[in-house]
Amino acid sequence: MGRKKDKEIIGELTSKKYPYGFVSDFDSDTIGKGLNEDVVRLVSRKKNEPKWMLERRLEALEILRKMTPPKWANLKFQNINLQDIIYYSAPKKKASLASLDEADPELIKTFNKLGISLEEQKRLAGVAVDVVIDSVSVSTSFKDKLADLGIIFCSMSEAIQKHPNLIRKYLGTVVPAKDNYFAALNSAVFSDGSFCFIPEGVRCPMELSTYFRINEAGTGQFERTLIVAEPGSFVSYLEGCTAPQRDENQLHAAIVELVALDSSEIKYSTVQNWYPGDKNGKGGVYNFVTKRGIAHSKAKISWTQVETGSSITWKYPSCILKGNDSVGEFFSIAVTNNFQQADTGTKMIHMGERTKSTIISKGISAGKSNSSYRGLVKINRRAKNSRNFSQCDSLLMGNLCGAHTFPYIDVKNSSSVVEHEATTSKIGEDQLFYCNQRGLGNDEAIAIIVNGYCKDILQKLPMEFAVEAKKLLELTLEDSVG
């Protein structure tokens, strides 16, 4: 099933009331700002969670209490006050607009540039959408098809209710609460997210997209995702969407855990386009994400990301290559413009023998933005004959932005090979003039230059996602040279 059909389904899903967890009769004012045990208990109770889940949340809270927020050299932001955040509120129903004419014209302009259909625009802008009768059957057949194969794809809340054994077995095994400050926070208060389970030997026949999961759940301030691929299975998973996501919640701290059992493969693609703040750097989402996968014997995990949004991005999708002959890949495009800051990269932890990892990171900085690549390649003593190849390229536009590369390499045996390449280039005036001379305006020129620079990675994305991502890159960098 292509994305077109997925999109049809969205209409149906979002027009339904969200059936799990949050209930709309609960007045969000009854619980104020702040984080404490009562709040965690309340979150769990409202979601009707079993006792074991509550206990896990409380444990995480205990861990969080003993931690202090991390400090990073290359990100500048005001301290986040956890007591100033509301941890429980019923998803606010956005005031419904009668038609697109009432929506923010800037937003509509952006939608048009991204080629988002009118129906879709209405939904994203919060215009009441009629239920399309036809899409009910589409959705049903989609769910039936997955169910026939034994694939589970549902919200985390639903999974906790319906598949407690799987959740108990896998949740928190890849990213434990104690992993880092934001992981502890998420583990204590996570709101919702997605769960996906692919049984042994099954190739998931379609791209699974969180696109509709997120929208179904309302804002995902503390999202939690778990994907389990049983031996010999395959799944390609898409997170996010190219449409700009506005959110009044400034702090986003998500966790994504991937478990790739023997000889399975998980391909995880992200397009992240949170609101980056305005031209002066005001507003914008802080995106602190912990993403990690564990690859068992002969398994493969592949992270592909296109990061264009957020005012601050902090994320390092990582692979623990635990089993022999397992493979980890990280392909990333991170664009920063205006006052955006991005600190992203990956960690490849080689534990098994003959494990292989590839890292290709492309940073693009424009305006006064700053982007850093921070990567760790660690090859343990036991991980004999392992290999890593890393390539980190930075592209600068103008003289006010910055790009930094911090590769950390730690190899504990002599039979392994690590290669690292890094380049920094600038979109030169001569390149722009050359394109201008062939009739291309500055925006078109930048688009073609940037797409050329990112080509290797765009090719890794599922086809239709790649087309959207390309447009998104162009849009993000529009007007970035004057």
Binding site: G428, E429, D430, Q431, F433, Y434, C435, N436, Q437, R438, G439, L440, G441, N442, E444, I448, I449, N451, G452, Y453, C454, K455, D456
Partner: protein, 246 residues
Amino acid sequence: MLKIENLQCSINANPVLKGLNLSVKPGEVHAIMGPNGSGKSTLASVIAGNDNYDVDGGDINFDNQSILEISPEERARMGIFMSFQYPVEIPGVSVSNFIKTAVTAMRKFRGEKPLSSSDLLKAMKENMDLLKMDSGFLSRSMNEGFSGGEKKRNEIFQLAMLNPRLSILDETDSGLDIDALKIVANGVNRLRSAENSFIIITHYQRLLDYISPDHVHILSDGKIVSSGSAELALKLEKEGYDEITK
């Protein structure tokens, strides 16, 4: 078509062109010759609208209007093409994609629909045959790892695809062996017409053996010091710049 009057330009406050006059009519081929550093590339760049150069005085008219305030992309869309002395690399952008984007931009300006992929490919194939380029060229990334000769051929290939009214060839002949030179000259000759004009900037006379110019100008220290027919180029070749610019 093109009328340059008393043009004075500088780069980094360094005067380069010091009162240059040139007039090109439709269908004419003008050769501009001159020693290194005399301002040939500057002239080409300023006509094309490169804003690294400051225009300190004079005017450039194209189709009877001053183009000094017009952006380089608009000048290109009006039909001004420059074959670069040093073509720029654009990594990851294939020749075919680049040309497609350029052709589409030009057509859009003229209010024409984009060419279908098959029509575009057909046009590319024809011009590649004309320039004796093999089809593998199309998928290579723009000028990346190209030999000097390949870069120049790629420039003429774009010229052929865009079919401009005024083409400025900045030392297209340098870096070409004699066979390549003939091929490029042959390509240019095929594009000559009653409407299309050429300014051929060259350091040597040999390209003019294959593209015969209507007028030859000698540029020295930012000024045209001598103009004449094709014979002037031969004389220059024999006597050297020093003699003529004296």
